[in-house]
Symmetry: C2
Subunit: 169 residues, 2 copies
C-alpha cells in the first residue's frame, strides 16, 4: 500500500501531495514573508520555539534531526510572518551560534546571515547572583560572553551557557 496525504494549495496549481511515498519527499508550502533558521544544532529547534514565544497564528514548520550536507544532522525552522528582533537573534545565538538566519520577503530569501555570538548582551540574561545590583534595583543587566561563559558586568558572577539558556525559557 503506497498512499499519499494531500492538502490544499490555494495559490498553486493543485493540491500538494505532502507525504509522497513514491517520490520519497515531504512537500509543504513555503512561507511567503518571514524567517527561516537553518543549520541549527540538532534538538535546538524546540528551545528556539520556546524562546521566541511563538503564538502559531501563522504557519510554522519545524524539522528536527534531519539530514544535512554541512553538518550531518541539523534542525530547521520556518516561521511565517515573523521578523526576529535584535534581542531574539542574540538569544538564539546563545543556543544556536553559527546557524543561518534567512529573511524571506515575497517568497524570496532577501537576506542570509550567520547567527554570531554577541560579545556583550544587554537586558537578556538575568544574573543568578541574588545580591547583584541588577536584581536589587531597576538596572538593565549587562553580560560579556567569552569562551562559552557569560560574566556579569556588575558583580562579575560567571554563568555557564547551560544555565544562561535555562534562564531564558
Amino acid at each position: 500500500m503506497n498512499k499519499t496525504i494531500s492538502s490544499a494549495r490555494p495559490d498553486g496549481p493543485g493540491p500538494i501531495k505532502e507525504y509522497d511515498t513514491e517520490k520519497e519527499v515531504v512537500r509543504l508550502n513555503p512561507i511567503s514573508n518571514g524567517t527561516v533558521i537553518d543549520h541549527l544544532p540538532i534538538k535546538t529547534a524546540p528551545k528556539i520555539m520556546r524562546l521566541l514565544k511563538l503564538n502559531f497564528d501563522e504557519a510554522v514548520m519545524v524539522a528536527i534531526n534531519i539530514d544535512s550536507k554541512k553538518k550531518g544532522k541539523k534542525d530547521l525552522i520556518f516561521i511565517e510572518g515573523k521578523k526576529l528582533t535584535a534581542k531574539e537573534v542574540a538569544k538564539s545565538a546563545l543556543i544556536a551560534e553559527g546557524s543561518t538566519w534567512n529573511i524571506v520577503k515575497g517568497k524570496s530569501v532577501v537576506s542570509k546571515s550567520v547567527i554570531q555570538m554577541p560579545k556583550e548582551l544587554f537586558g537578556i540574561i538575568i544574573c543568578n547572583n541574588p545580591n547583584c545590583i541588577t536584581n536589587q534595583e531597576h538596572i538593565e543587566t549587562k553580560f560579556t560572553i567569552d569562551n562559552n561563559k557569560g560574566k556579569c558586568y556588575y558583580c562579575e558572577r560567571e554563568m555557564e551557557m547551560d544555565d544562561i539558556v535555562k534562564s531564558l525559557e
Copy 2:
C-alpha cells in the same frame, strides 16, 4: 534575489532543495518507519509533542497552521522511529479527536485510521479531587468521557477537557 537552502539526501539522487522559492515548495526527506499524525486541529501539534515526550533522537517534522483541503488549516506531525502506544493514542484523542493517524513502514503508509475519543480511559487522567480514592491508594484511575467532559468512576468528579489536557502535560 531568489535563493535556495540545500541539504544532503544521502539515499537519494542528490541534495534536496529544501526551500525552493522558484518552485514554491518546501521539500524534506520523508520518514521511513514511524508515525504521521495528520489533520490535527491547529496549534495542537506542540501539545501532542509535549504529550508524547519526544526525545528527538530521530527525525521529527512538524507543520503548524498550514493550509488544508479538508479543514482550511491544520497541523501535521511526522515522527521517525515512533510507534504510538494505545495510551498515547488515547491521550492524543483528548487533544485531537478526528485526526488521522498513519503508520509508516518501509517508507509506505501501511495503516491509516481516525483518532477517536475513547469512551473510557484507564490510568491516564489524574482525578483533580484530592480526596478521591485514586489519589489516596494505589488504584488505577478510570474516567468515562461524554460530551467533552471526563467523569471519575470512583468519586464522580467531572473534569472539563481543558483541565484534563493540562493534567496530561
